[in-house]
C-alpha cells in the first residue's frame, strides 16, 4: 500500500528527501511510464523520458510547495517531456521521406513488446493520425480514465476545450476505423 501524496511531500520537508523520493517513484512510475509509452510508442524512448522526468522531480522536489497535487505535477512534467521528444523526433525526420506516424506505425507492427491483435493495432494506428495534443487528450481519457477536471489541471486548459478535443478525436478515429473495416 502506497502512502498518500501529502505524506510524501511532508517527508520531503522533514529531511527524509531520499526516502520520500523512493516512495514517490514506486507509487507513480507505472502510471507515468504508460502515459509516456502511449505517446512515444517505443519502450526505450519511454524509459529514457521516465528517467529524465524523475531526475527533474529529484532536482526540484524541495521547491514543490504543494500548490497543485503531486500527481498533477508529475503528470505535467511527463507530458512536457513527451511533447518535447515528439517535436525533436519530427525535426530529425524532416529530411526523411517518412513522417513520425509512419515510423510509429511500423514499430507497432514489428514490436515484440506490443501484444495487441489486429483490431487493437488498427486502433493504435488511428490514434497516431491525431495531432499530438489531441492524442494526449484521447489517451488520458480513453486509456487512463482521467476526469476532465484532472486533465484540465495537468494540461492547463479548460474542461470545455478538452471535451471538444476528445469529441473530435473520437469522431476521427471512428471514421478511420469504419473506412478500413468496410
Amino acid at each position: 500500500m502506497h502512502p498518500d501524496d501529502r505524506e510524501i511531500v511532508a517527508m520531503v520537508h522533514t529531511q527524509q528527501r531520499e526516502a520520500a523520493f523512493s516512495l514517490l517513484v514506486k507509487k507513480h512510475q507505472q502510471r507515468l511510464y504508460w502515459h509516456l509509452r502511449k505517446m512515444v510508442i517505443v519502450h526505450e524512448d519511454a524509459d529514457d523520458l521516465l528517467q529524465n522526468c524523475f531526475i527533474k522531480v529529484w532536482q526540484n522536489l524541495d521547491k514543490f510547495r504543494g500548490d497543485s497535487s503531486l500527481y498533477t505535477w508529475l503528470y505535467r512534467i511527463a507530458t512536457n517531456e513527451a511533447l518535447n521528444f515528439l517535436n525533436k523526433r519530427r525535426a530529425e525526420l524532416l529530411a526523411s521521406p517518412d513522417d513520425l506516424e509512419i515510423v510509429f506505425s511500423g514499430h507497432i507492427d514489428s514490436d515484440p513488446l506490443y501484444s495487441g491483435d489486429e483490431i487493437e493495432k488498427r486502433l493504435q494506428k488511428s490514434i497516431l493520425s491525431l495531432p499530438d495534443k489531441q492524442r494526449l487528450v484521447f489517451n488520458m481519457k480513453y486509456f487512463d480514465n482521467l476526469k476532465y477536471e484532472e486533465m484540465a489541471e495537468i494540461l492547463e486548459t479548460s474542461v470545455g476545450a478538452l471535451k471538444a478535443s476528445y469529441f473530435h478525436a473520437v469522431r476521427k478515429i471512428e471514421a478511420l476505423i469504419k473506412q478500413e473495416l468496410f
Binding site: 509509452r37 502511449k38 532536482q59 513488446l113 480513453y142
Partner: protein, 135 residues
C-alpha cells in the same frame, strides 16, 4: 468507443520482464552518477550559453586588437618590398649596353633623335663655355 465491440481500452503495450522492479535502482544510479560527475544537467544547460557568449566576446576582442595591426604591418611590408623591387629591377633588368642597344635597334621606329642644336638653341655659346669650364 462504439464503432467496434471488439475494441476495448486494454493496454496492449508491454515492458521487458522485471522492468518496474529494476527501474528505481537504475534511476538512483543515474542520479548519483550525474551528481558525482560534477554539474547537473540543468546547471550545465544554464552555464553553457554564458560560456559561449564569453568566448564570442573574446574572439571579437582579439580580432579587433590584432587583426588591423597585422594587416597594416603586412601592407607596409608589401609596399617596402615593391619599392625595393623597382629599385633593384631598374639596375638588374637593363645594363647600359642593353639600353643603348634598345635605343639604337629596337626603338628606332618610334624614337626621334634631334640634332644637338635643337636642345641648345636657347643657350648662348658663352654659357656653354662657362659650363664646360666649371665642370
Amino acid at each position: 468507443m462504439a464503432t467496434d465491440k471488439n475494441i476495448n481500452n486494454r493496454n496492449a503495450f508491454k515492458t521487458p520482464e522485471g522492468y518496474f522492479d529494476s527501474f528505481e535502482g537504475r534511476l538512483m544510479q543515474n542520479i548519483k552518477g550525474s551528481e558525482a560527475g560534477g554539474l547537473s544537467r540543468v546547471k550545465k544547460s544554464m552555464i553553457v550559453p554564458w560560456i559561449g557568449m564569453a568566448a564570442a566576446f573574446l574572439i571579437i576582442a582579439l580580432v579587433y586588437n590584432f587583426l588591423p595591426k597585422q594587416l597594416f604591418e603586412r601592407e607596409q611590408d608589401s609596399r617596402a618590398d615593391i619599392i625595393q623591387q623597382i629599385e633593384q629591377s631598374a639596375v638588374e633588368w637593363f645594363n647600359e649596353y642593353e639600353l643603348m642597344e634598345y635605343l639604337t635597334n629596337d626603338a628606332d621606329a618610334d624614337l626621334e633623335l634631334y640634332p644637338d642644336s635643337l636642345f641648345f638653341k636657347n643657350i648662348k655659346e658663352e654659357d656653354i663655355i662657362m659650363l664646360t669650364l666649371m665642370y
